[in-house]
């Protein structure tokens, strides 16, 4: 009896959780991968990208913000859920400007890796080709908003890990964009440092350290040989 008290099933497999844990954190801790982009286990969940959507007892909800509950039936890899996730990731691609062929982050990018995981091969929607401001004002750090997916991980990391509070999301809906907390709105007028956690947690090539790029040859990058789910399944 006490076994079912703190257990839910994920695609039929039992997952034990601790009181207060989200479905996402319990699943990851047990070595089950649920695709995600705005989630990072070190930071408070934001629940915005919806890539981590699962079906809990018949209802769709974001697994990174939904508390685990005893006896819940959680579906993650159902074909319709995977299809919806693929659509979400396609929307993230066409919403910004993602030129993977020459992007410094390519091969190490989580947006790309999640797309691969979901079997996404094309974008299939009309591309927006938006015009977004690049901030290359800082000597060591560059912010390329073309690749930003507004996941807010840098916002949380800068505030909660670096203690600097250098970023924020501004605007609503399709106009949401990342802003820099300085008098000019530029990185050069902040105390950002190339070693800041905010830069390390960016899942895409939006926040990068200058003069570092293409360090590993193609074939040896993070997601070249190993899919993103393998990383999570082996890490815990």
């Amino acid at each position: 009896m006490s076994e079912t008290k703190n257990t839910f099933t994920l695609d039929g497999q039992p997952v034990v959780f601790e009181a207060g844990q989200t479905i996402m954190n319990a699943a990851l801790a047990a070595g089950h991968y649920i695709p995600h982009l705005c989630h990072h286990r070190e930071f408070k969940p934001h629940g915005s990208c919806k890539v981590c959507t699962v079906r809990v007892n018949g209802w769709l909800s974001a697994s990174c913000t939904t508390p685990a509950s005893a006896g819940a039936k959680v579906e993650s890899e159902a074909p319709d859920i995977q299809e919806a996730r693929r659509r979400i990731v396609q929307m993230l691609f066409i919403e910004g400007n993602h030129f993977c062929p020459f992007c410094v982050k390519s091969g190490n990018c989580q947006l790309q890796a999640v797309a691969y995981h979901l079997g996404m091969e094309d974008t299939s929607l009309p591309h927006r080709f938006p015009s977004r401001a690049m901030d290359a004002s800082h000597p060591d750090v560059v912010l390329d908003r073309d690749r930003c997916i507004n996941c807010s991980l840098c916002v949380r990391a800068s505030r909660d890990a670096d203690g600097k509070d250098l970023f924020g999301l501004s605007g609503r809906g399709i106009d949401t964009h990342l802003v820099v907390n300085s008098s000019t709105g530029l990185l050069k007028d902040t105390n950002i440092d190339a070693n800041d956690r905010a830069i390390q947690v960016c899942p895409t090539g939006a926040l990068l350290v200058k003069r570092r790029g293409y360090e590993q040859p193609i074939g040896e990058r993070r997601f070249d040989a190993q899919a993103i789910e393998c990383e999570f399944e082996s890490k815990y």
């Binding site: 400007n97 993977c100 062929p101 020459f102 390519s106 094309d122």
Partner: protein, 186 residues
């Protein structure tokens, strides 16, 4: 005992390049000596490889490299689509616009100005307007925004193995399935 020895019909394959760099075609040729095997299984139709300029009435598989940057690209794409049973978008440019779409951040006028008027060392600066030169589109577009696409081969360029898998699958009448390492966006 007289089982019919019916030969499956040979597939006809056409290829063409729009706003691309021909890298996808070069990568296709990386199937190396297997091209001989392929030539025994399929008939090549319109292609820069055969120098045939227009498709026969019915083509089975049409591979398109490159996106749409001018009106001629659109015309060729529409003609190609109309001739091909299966249209395959090959490579980043066909699928997303690719490197040529970097110009989409700027107005067409400012691109032309930069290239033909303001760039250093230009003699007789003027924007070319010969009727022989196809008009540029305001934005570079991926091909799925204009025609229906049946299959895609991602990559810049897609590896030879991806071409091989696609064609051998279609010849065998099964759905192509690209291995993890053969479906890349770069």
């Amino acid at each position: 005992m007289n089982a019919p020895t019916e030969q499956p019909a040979r597939l006809t394959v056409a290829t063409c390049s729009l706003a691309g760099c021909f890298g996808c075609h070069m990568s296709f040729l990386d199937v190396d000596e297997r091209i001989v095997e392929l030539a025994q299984l399929v008939t090549f139709d319109r292609s820069p490889l055969t120098d045939v300029k227009h498709c026969s009435e019915r083509v089975d598989v049409g591979l398109i490299e490159g996106g749409l940057c001018n009106v001629e690209n659109v015309e060729v794409l529409r003609e190609f689509r109309a001739s091909c049973r299966y249209l395959v978008a090959v490579g980043s440019c066909a699928i997303t616009g690719g490197v040529p779409a970097v110009r989409n951040k700027f107005t067409l006028e400012s691109c032309l100005r930069e290239a033909y008027i303001d760039a250093p060392g230009i003699d007789n600066p003027h924007i070319p307007c010969d009727p022989e030169i196809p008009l540029l589109l305001n934005k570079v577009r991926p091909i799925h925004e204009v025609v229906r696409v049946d299959y895609v081969l991602p990559g810049c360029p897609p590896p030879a193995e991806a071409f091989w898998e696609l064609l051998t699958a279609l010849i065998a009448g099964r759905e192509p399935e690209l291995a993890y390492e053969h479906r890349r966006f770069d």
